[in-house]
Symmetry: C2
Subunit: 475 residues, 2 copies
């Protein structure tokens, strides 16, 4: 997360000017170059400087995306896909300028195949829009990153969220997708069959590629049945370590927990005030079970026993929707409640993921690091997957605080990698984690570069993201 | 599956002679060139002619694999990975000769991380060996293709089996792998974290790549807890269609069925005789549920009601291990019992996969096709995933029968693709399905070629597999 790691991308002024003219003519009012719109499309939730694109194309069809990519390819101009701009690592910045392809008007639900538990949506459909659309089908799409992101963006960043421990991430839930590749051609990566062994897995190559290999224009998603019953509640623990041990035991027992979220002591303090939650100010697990009436009761009871065995509890659980909603509202508002811990500060959200056997150790070391360096940085985590977030509350006008936060995030990434983990479990690389790709992947990063070079030889697709400078610099 | 689709690979006689000398010196007795061993390593279970490699390297370490690949790269000689040779589509044939890399002596279980529910094994460990090793841990590896395949081979072909409906395929269960790439360098594709958004998904690019991008030398696998209780049984249905409707309803209700296997009428006839099963000679579903005592009873009861609603039943289920074992033994021996339907014939096993809403239609049309063409070809299927197998029993010495079988498989592939399905759900492409890759993937096949060319510019890695001739021919 060091600014010094940012990959420089040369501006091609002549090409940009030409493409601006072409797209203005092609898209009319749906091509915008006003400063406010451009800055909004270069908006990042990090402290990385805003690097706006030169124009924003509000595309409505895959054919229009093909046109934009072809024009940009011909004139060597960067293409930066944009959903709703909620990514966290500078994914939508335009370090060499170029064209932001805003997919928000590609928001049709193309098909729902209820019998097959799948659906196809255009890239700009948001997860809440999809779930509203599905309301009468008895089905839902379970992947829930904090924001109401677009499904194209979620696929591009390999997003996940609180339900991933049971339902998987975008990696497991994108059956197929269509994308416009760097040469301007569209491909559909797979059929709707639930499994296939027919050739290279282009679906999963594009999921998580952050627009660097193609612009995703539609996704075919697995859906889940809305569970017959849901139980859930909050369970306090004497320490992060005991909470983590309860998580491991729950997973090992094969209890099909749907959500199991750690909230550390500092974050609980924020939530008690902000959301008026009546729980002890100690590390807590927010837990939810999906299944039959009998199943969710049995699972909640089993979890309660596991928690008690680790010194946690009481585990008060309920199947009443209103009470659960209040809890999960508090969990989902953690970003906002945390801000109250240091009014006026900006929250920098970062994430890592480790094997769950290392989770307690990783969080404990991170808490000690935070304390040692005088940071205000609460922790929440999708701990069933070994994934946790730190929200560093900092004064972005104070270079010393930025430097301290950068250094902290660097140590966090190194710590996770050293524990056989990853520098990002669900946020993606973007610009923010680019300095850790070589460290995490070693020689693997070279093969990523070979793939990038083969599929995007002109380096027009979201340049300056994922892959650190090196052989590719300046191309 | 037409022989005319086979990709020709030129033999490089000078290079091969050189590499034979190098490897004999390097590996001594562990490098074999005898005809019987070479033919065994070119063995295919199809009617594609045996195309033996020129030598077989019995490697023991990843370093030795690197040496073999480097020697082959330097002298432009094909490298063909080999596990135990149970793949079904000619994957291990050597159309241009070259070196078979036999991984069967790389059979160490490197690590079992019980807390994390994962393990790392060398590529030559078989699934039964792994499950025997895990016996005391309370964990198991659920993916079960028919054969006792190596885990490296299963990863390379993206294998699955009867448990995939609940536990997923190799796509979902390989956390990371190491592979020797075409330039002779080893990479590890990912860390052990359960999820990651850190760069391109090299793991899933290599899973299913059938040795055409790299030689897999070890795999890190997700493990599952051995369920507390298992219930299961057999349920007869008046028709394939009613059985398929019961499957769809079961999946839609969110019943977490662990196995749901269709056996058609002809296959039931074979199993009644061969395995002395006392069930009606009608389409049947073999079903199994994994969970708690209460859960598996509840699930079995719910399934019984669904089956009755479709005119099926009685569904006799049990939690007694011995009785279930007898049933699943019969299911796993389907390949052998089917042979009794036409003694002396060779069974050609092929598979396709479609969205489950199209499954009944696809199987019904396929049964009609079989009848119309006078073939003897029973059907079994992992129908919870929409995947089914046809075993065509044919006289491999009769060119007319081969032609008729080829034509039948061609129609089957086309039928599946037309129903938004795939020409192979779990067997892979190898040589046998190579003629359908363009048909299934359209422009996507071009991007697969670009990736192949970027990662294996000399086309030494298992040439003549997956990708049809075209721009790559003769390279």
């Amino acid at each position: 997360m060091a600014l010094s790691d940012l990959v420089r991308v040369e501006r091609n002024e002549v090409g940009i000017a030409t493409v601006l003219g072409i797209l203005k003519q092609r898209l009319g009012e749906r091509f915008q170059t006003g400063q406010a719109i451009r800055e909004q499309h270069g908006h990042t939730t990090t402290y990385i400087p805003n690097q706006p694109p030169d124009g924003v194309a509000f595309v409505q069809t895959a054919g229009e995306v093909e046109d934009v990519v072809r024009a940009c390819g011909e004139h060597r101009v960067p293409v930066i896909p944009f959903g709703v701009g909620t990514s966290l690592e500078g994914h939508v910045n335009a370090p060499g300028g170029g064209i932001s392809v805003d997919t928000s008007q590609m928001n049709r639900v193309v098909a729902v195949h209820a019998d097959d538990l799948d659906c196809t949506v255009e890239a700009g459909v948001t997860r809440e829009q999809l779930n509203t659309h599905l309301r009468d089908t008895g089905l839902f799409f379970p992947i829930d990153p904090g924001a109401n992101a677009t499904l194209g963006g979620m696929a591009a960043t390999r997003a996940s969220g609180t339900n991933a421990v049971r339902y998987g991430t975008m990696r497991e839930n994108v059956l197929a997708l269509t994308a416009v590749m760097a040469d301007g051609r569209s491909i559909t990566t797979a059929r709707r069959a639930k499994k296939t062994s027919a050739g290279y897995d282009l679906t999963r190559l594009l999921v998580g590629s952050e627009g660097t290999l193609g612009v995703i224009t539609s996704v075919t998603l697995k859906l889940a049945g809305i569970p017959q019953a849901i139980s859930g509640g909050v369970c306090p623990f004497p320490s992060v370590e005991s909470a983590c041990r309860a998580v491991i035991e729950t997973i090992q027992m094969g209890i099909p927990v749907a959500r199991i979220e750690l909230v550390n002591q500092l974050q609980m303090r924020a939530m008690k005030t902000y959301n008026k939650l009546d729980y002890p100010e100690s590390p807590c697990l927010f837990v939810e079970f999906h299944g039959s009436d009998a199943g969710v009761a049995e699972q909640a009871e089993m979890f309660g026993e596991i928690a008690a065995g680790q010194g946690g509890g009481p585990f008060l659980w309920t199947t009443v929707a209103e009470e659960r909603t209040k809890l999960w509202k508090a969990r989902h508002e953690a970003y906002w409640s945390a801000q109250t811990l240091r009014p006026g500060a900006r929250g920098l959200s970062t994430d890592v993921c480790v094997p769950i056997s290392r989770l307690a150790e990783c969080i404990a070391e991170t808490e000690a690091d935070i304390a040692r360096n005088g940071l205000v940085a609460p922790i929440v985590g999708h701990v069933g997957d070994g994934n946790f977030h730190v929200l560093v509350l900092m004064d972005v006008n104070d270079p010393k605080e930025i430097a301290a936060s950068e250094a902290f995030v660097g140590r966090l990434n190194e710590r996770a990698i050293a524990m056989d983990g990853t520098c990002t479990g669900e946020h993606g690389v973007g610009q923010g984690k680019i300095g850790f790709i070589e460290r995490e992947h070693g020689a693997g990063a070279d093969y990523m570069r070979m793939i990038k070079r083969a599929l995007d030889p002109l380096n027009i697709m979201n340049p300056g993201k994922i892959l650190p400078a090196g052989q590719d610099a300046g191309r």
